[in-house]
């Protein structure tokens, strides 16, 4: 219980620091929102309008009080308005989040589902087909960005085989996007899982298990798997960050209407509130994945230090 409270406190503190850092940097943006608003909404560019807008948005007040006001509004569901659409940012995000989230979550889950059997097969037979394939995959995903792989796949499936309609916002694109997002994490998690299995197999208690008459595969699954799975969960955190970046590239490549696409469309208008909300959503995602992984780890290993 004490541990959970301390995690919660750390998480809240982290979110606070991230939000303040993002707010400061975004306010430093070398563009005046008032000027943009006047241009986009065709307001008269008189001194009164400028002063009224500045006062209305609190731009004449110091950074700290603006941050506090933003934080208060943010917590109460007022995420500001988008310059481009004139709609509240929260509405737009709620509309687009399900798609982005499902790409991210499905990508991570698919990676976990693929990584465990692949890593296990690689550990059972080092140098075998699964081992060599997973090594190839990890070298490949480390040096080729996911959108380039996606373009090649579009060429293969869309142009050569004509299985999918290229750049169409349909189910096939979604499946392809999720698969591509999962590729990098699959490679990383497979290698982590395989390495931990191998390490566990050198421990004395593994020899004991073998001496009891378990086969190599049985001993690996019964005795090495728990600790190796633990290592995989610890690696999920950094993969959660990768998934965000890949999902953003996939939304652009396939034209999927997620939050990253919204950000890209908004940023040419210097839409500060959209950028700030985006950073906060990403921070929430990272924190949630981290907490979930830690909770599962706590269940697996109550002696967690």
């Amino acid at each position: 219980m004490k541990r959970l409270a301390s995690w919660g406190l750390q998480t809240a503190l982290g979110l606070l620091v991230v939000s303040f850092a993002a707010f400061t940097i975004i306010t430093l943006m070398p563009a005046d929102p008032v000027e943009i608003a006047i241009r986009t909404w065709n307001l008269p560019a008189t001194d009164e309008t400028v002063a009224a807008l500045r006062q209305d948005w609190g731009l004449d007040r110091p950074l700290i009080s603006r941050y506090l006001r933003w934080g208060w509004d943010f917590l109460h569901g007022d995420w500001g308005r988008s310059f481009r659409t004139g709609e509240p940012v929260l509405t737009e995000f709620l509309h687009r989040l399900p798609l982005s989230l499902s790409i991210g979550i499905a990508g991570l889950c698919l990676a976990l589902m693929l990584a465990l059997p692949l890593g296990f097969a690689a550990a059972v037979k080092p140098g075998g087909l699964a081992d060599r394939f997973s090594r190839l995959l990890s070298v490949f995903t480390q040096s080729t960005p996911v959108f380039a792989t996606g373009l090649v796949l579009i060429w293969v499936f869309g142009v050569q085989l004509r299985w999918i309609r290229p750049f169409a916002n349909d189910g096939a694109s979604l499946v392809l996007a999720i698969t591509l997002v999962a590729l990098h994490s699959t490679a990383v998690l497979t290698r982590v899982y395989r390495q931990s299995l191998q390490e566990a197999a050198t421990q004395p208690w593994f020899a004991t298990a073998r001496a009891k008459g378990l086969s190599e595969t049985q001993a690996l699954w019964r005795h090495a798997h728990p600790s190796a799975f633990y290592a995989v969960l610890a690696a999920v955190h950094s993969e959660a960050g990768w998934v965000i970046g890949s999902a953003a590239a996939m939304e652009i490549l396939f034209g999927l209407p997620g939050i990253s696409q919204f950000l890209v469309q908004s940023i040419s208008m210097r839409d500060q509130m959209v950028l700030q909300s985006y950073v906060m959503v990403v921070a929430f995602w990272m924190v949630s994945v981290d907490l979930l992984a830690r909770l599962i780890m706590l269940r697996l290993e109550p002696r967690l230090t």
């Binding site: 960005p145 959108f147 373009l151 970046g245």
Partner: protein
């Protein structure tokens, strides 16, 4: 230390490609659009008649800047903070580590994405942002490594022999930690090249007419039907560079 020349040679090649190109990479030539490989255009031209090889070379220069900036900033900041944390100990160690962990909470790409949105995307701005974001994980890595080396018996021996602290640092500690740190930095810079390409592809604050490999892939993605080579060459250039760079840093 012996393996430093290879990555540096690769970087030098990338920079050399930026200094000389067979054609002006921005010269539009509407008459010769989408022509295949010829003697004057070894890789052909794009939809505006710009020479693809020249654009690839110019993009290599920009990628090289990102790799160099991330490498230098990450190496200096990360090894300094990590070594300091391990040597100082006490509350300062805790403070440095906690701060680094806080930085790790935000994904590298999001830091660079925010910087690109605010200041516009250029190789230098992206390189600085990605480099600063790389300091966090590098600090944690260096700290763990330094602690391990510090606990070795030969460090105690040096202490007992009365070696001065500067001697301990430069003769005994750094020679044992730097090779691994360099490998790690190399991998970080390699993925930074990928991250920069992703940013240029996503197109946040980027000028699409500039010859970035990622931006070229975004621009040429619509020609995947008629002229797939336009997509293939930038992909190969990027993947080849990062692969070779990672390989060169690993040994």
């Amino acid at each position: 230390m012996k393996r430093m020349p290879l990555p540096l040679l690769l970087l030098a090649l990338l920079f050399a490609g930026g200094l000389w190109q067979p054609h002006n990479p921005d010269a539009v030539d509407i008459v010769s659009r989408h022509i295949g490989p010829t003697f004057t255009h070894p890789l052909g031209t794009d939809h505006l008649g710009r020479d693809l090889l020249s654009r690839l070379l110019a993009g290599g220069f920009r990628t090289g800047i990102v790799i160099l900036a991330v490498g230098v900033i990450g190496l200096v900041g990360g090894s300094l903070l990590g070594t300091l944390a391990a040597l100082l100990g006490g509350w300062r160690e805790v403070a440095i580590l906690k701060a680094s962990q806080m930085f790790i909470m935000v994904p590298t790409l999001i830091v660079a994405l925010t910087a690109a949105a605010v200041f516009g995307l250029s190789p230098l701005s992206a390189g600085v942002a990605l480099g600063l974001a790389a300091i966090g994980p590098l600090t944690v890595f260096t700290h763990a490594l330094t602690r391990r080396v510090l606990s070795q018996p030969f460090m105690l021996g040096a202490e007992a022999l009365g070696v001065r602290s500067s001697g301990k640092l430069f003769r005994h500690l750094l020679p044992n930690t730097l090779p691994s740190i360099l490998t790690y930095v190399g991998n970080q810079s390699g993925s930074a090249a990928i991250a920069y390409a992703s940013l240029a592809f996503i197109g946040l604050g980027a000028d699409p007419s500039l010859p970035d490999w990622g931006g070229m892939l975004f621009e040429y993605r619509m020609f995947v039907f008629d002229d797939p080579m336009l997509v293939l060459w930038p992909t190969l250039a990027l993947a080849g560079t990062v692969f070779l760079f990672n390989r060169a840093c690993d040994r």
